[in-house]
């Protein structure tokens, strides 16, 4: 029996879920199939509507 939570996919969605859970005190296992997390957002130059840098 465990209170841990598994998150599959380390794009912006998986990162946000993981951080929220971790902050609430839950142990999270985050699985990403690529060598690093970031997903598509890491590939974006800037993001609408603020034109902030993506990373």
């Amino acid at each position: 029996m465990s209170r841990d939570i598994l998150v599959i996919g380390g794009g912006i969605a998986g990162i946000q879920s993981s951080l929220d859970l971790a902050e609430m005190g839950f142990k999270v296992h985050l699985i990403e199939r690529l060598p690093s997390i970031g997903g598509k957002m890491a590939q974006l130059d800037k993001t609408f509507p603020t034109n902030d840098c993506a990373i």
């Binding site: 029996m1 465990s2 209170r3 841990d4 939570i5 598994l6 998150v7 599959i8 996919g9 380390g10 794009g11 912006i12 969605a13 998986g14 990162i15 946000q16 879920s17 993981s18 951080l19 929220d20 859970l21 971790a22 902050e23 609430m24 005190g25 839950f26 142990k27 999270v28 296992h29 985050l30 699985i31 990403e32 199939r33 690529l34 060598p35 690093s36 997390i37 970031g38 997903g39 598509k40 957002m41 890491a42 590939q43 974006l44 130059d45 800037k46 993001t47 609408f48 509507p49 034109n51 990373i55």
Partner: protein
């Protein structure tokens, strides 16, 4: 992103995939396969010394194959974890050749060619699926000639061209021009080599090849085997140098792409492919046109779409501002075809539905706003998790429980659920986290009660 790497409550398993899932909500047993990086995660400092000397150059997927990386690489410069990875498909050492240059360069002794993949077992109460989406492959629409006309690119490729850390350092160099520049580089290497060969003959005979060759052509040296070889090598040299000269002349006229066309709904709102609206593409085309204009104030953009869907707080204003300040023209009409004109310029053929006319217009670069397609691994993961997918190919949920998959204890968020932008993905991610916590507490209460 950094916070994920540092948070004591997060175990990050990158370069890993789910292999098997048993059990039920409150008590899932998950088998994870950690692929071999051939680099020890606990030793690698991410310094990058290894890749400096690696002789193997391969196209870089992070840069949408527009740039290059080495066989030992980091996914991108700020990637978390920063652990480097050896690409087993290309590394010389891992393909039976002698190399190991990276291992010599690594002060941390992190490289391990004998590393094996590992299996990790996890016990978790709930699962969140956040596997995202794929960019629609525009080659499925033959009339747009993606992959055939060099200067037709996808929006995600264009993001990499705009990026200061991308393959062009943020210059809007056209793919056709980059291909010619790469050809020039290749030819220059060859020309240097053949120059050395003919220099030897010149030294030997104390004469320039050009002068010798003029006389050779007149038949002065018939029967002279040695000079016959010289003439042959000189011919080969000319066959390299002359096209090189022509290409260099052409490249002298290259400028950054200034006339841009953005084509909306490539694969979206198209009953041959995806009937849905991908939601974010109108906005990212406007964004890319605004940024391109920041790179060069003379840049003009035409955005071709059935309508511009700027839905959300501040989005309509963003669109109007783009039109007023960033030389963006919004053209109402669906593009029928893209052809290639002079100078590798793509020509867009479309119906202007305001003027009710079929028109064509030449651009420097065409950018395709491709649909948000279900991730290619969706079916495989759905089978592993025993959850259903919907008619569009995304994970199935219901209108009243939009984050719950068809199996209790498994939730979905972000583009794995359907097309959505970053703020929406983040909002869903927080909601999915809350749903997962509810599963944990509910199963704990059940346990206490029994």
């Amino acid at each position: 992103m950094l916070d994920v790497g540092r948070h004591p409550n997060i175990e990050l398993l990158a370069y890993s995939e789910v292999e098997k899932v048993d059990g039920q909500a409150g008590d899932f047993r998950v088998t994870v396969r950690r692929k071999a990086r051939y680099v020890e995660e606990d030793k690698c400092t991410g310094c990058g010394a290894c890749k400096e000397k690696c002789p193997t150059i391969v196209p870089d997927a992070f840069n949408e194959w527009l740039g290059e990386r080495k066989a030992i690489y980091s996914w991108f410069a700020q990637g978390i974890p920063s652990t480097h990875t050896i690409d087993p498909a290309h590394c010389r050492q891992l393909n039976g050749k002698k190399c190991g240059v990276c291992k010599k360069g690594c002060k941390a002794d992190a490289i391990n060619f004998d590393q094996k993949e590992r299996i990790v077992e996890l016990n978790v109460a709930a699962i969140i699926v956040a596997t995202g989406y794929d960019v629609f492959a525009p080659s499925r629409i033959p009339e747009y000639q993606y992959g055939k006309i060099a200067n037709v690119v996808t929006a995600i490729e264009f993001e990499r061209l705009l990026s200061a850390s991308g393959p062009t350092g943020g210059h809007l160099d056209r793919p056709s021009d980059r291909a010619i520049e790469a050809e020039i580089e290749e030819l220059e290497k060859k020309a240097n080599r053949s120059q050395k060969v003919i220099a030897k003959f010149e030294e030997q005979h104390g004469e320039a090849s050009g002068e010798f060759y003029a006389r050779y052509e007149k038949g002065e040296y018939s029967g002279d085997e040695e000079r016959g070889k010289w003439a042959e090598k000189y011919q080969e040299h000319l066959a390299i140098v002359e096209p090189l000269k022509a290409l260099k002349k052409k490249a002298g006229g290259f400028t950054a792409a200034k006339r841009l066309a953005f084509i909306q709904c490539v694969g979206s709102r198209d009953f041959r492919f995806y009937p849905f609206c991908s939601g974010y593409c109108c906005m990212h085309s406007i964004k890319e046109a605004i940024i391109a204009h920041e790179h060069g104030s003379e840049t003009t953009s035409a955005i071709f779409g059935m309508d511009i869907r700027a839905v959300g707080k501040g989005f309509e204003e963003y669109k109007v501002r783009g039109g007023n300040n960033s030389n963006i023209r919004y053209v109402r009409g669906r593009v029928a075809e893209i052809t290639e004109g002079p100078n590798n310029n793509p020509v867009v053929i479309y119906e202007d539905t305001r003027e009710r006319k079929v028109k064509d217009e030449e651009f420097d670069l065409v950018i395709l706003a491709t649909a948000c397609a279900p991730n290619s691994g969706v079916k495989q993961l759905a089978d592993l998790l025993d959850i259903e997918i919907d008619n569009f190919g995304f994970y199935k949920t219901s209108a009243t429980q939009p984050l719950d998959t068809t199996r209790p204890g498994i939730f979905v968020c972000g583009c794995a659920h359907g097309p959505m932008d970053i703020p929406e993905s983040v909002a869903q991610a927080s909601s999915a986290a809350a749903r997962a916590v509810q599963t944990v507490t509910a199963s704990e209460q059940m346990r206490k009660a029994s």
